[in-house]
């Protein structure tokens, strides 16, 4: 049973560029959340998608946007990259009405 799959695993971008990160949820899960984890810190909630709609958003600027597809997979887009966007980006999936989240291994984004 495949867990949460994220791609790519590592990425290096230049300031000002745009990036797209991808996530396939665990089989049977239809809700996807994205988190940003800076080095040495706990993950911070970016947003959650359910039924292809953004259901809740954390304290992140509009440069961060997302999308969920009919097959429940999801993308995280970040525009106008800043050095401070360098972090591990985690995707988590869950079933509606349950409180358990399964995390992927993340995408390590480095902005230079």
């Amino acid at each position: 049973d495949a867990g949460v799959t994220q791609s790519p695993t590592h990425l290096i971008k230049t300031r000002g560029q745009q990036v797209t990160l991808r996530c396939s949820p665990k089989s049977g899960h239809d809700t996807v959340s994205w988190y940003q984890q800076a080095l040495g810190q706990g993950p911070q909630f970016i947003f959650q998608y359910y039924e292809e709609e953004e259901r809740q958003r954390g304290n992140f600027p509009d440069r961060f946007s997302g999308h969920q597809f009919p097959n429940y997979s999801s993308e995280l887009n970040v525009n106008a990259l800043l050095l401070g966007d360098s972090a591990l980006y985690l995707c988590a999936s869950s079933l509606p009405g349950t409180y358990g989240y399964t995390f992927g291994s993340g995408t390590r984004l480095t902005v230079v």
């Binding site: 949460v4 040495g40 706990g42 993950p43 911070q44 809740q56 995390f103 291994s105 993340g106």
Partner: protein, 111 residues
Amino acid sequence: EDQVTQSPEALRLQEGESSSLNCSYTVSGLRGLFWYRQDPGKGPEFLFTLYSAGEEKEKERLKATLTKKESFLHITAPKPEDSATYLCAVRGEQGAQKLVFGQGTRLTINP
């Protein structure tokens, strides 16, 4: 606003030396307190969910407990493979779709 504070930030133990990690929280309407283990460069791995004060859960050498203001993760006779960062998170009524994490406790078990 929901908040989670973990202590200590880092802890070094000898193999077999038991200890506890602390997670203090403030939340409006707790809908769950979660413990995760995270290895370097990996995503968090689910350990436990606790829902109400007095609840306890165990898994191998780990035991999680919950009060109205804090949770403890007790580790008994740890082994080097227990070395990891342990994250605590809460889910509250107002931010029902998100987990609010603490900064984690980095645990090192020396052989």
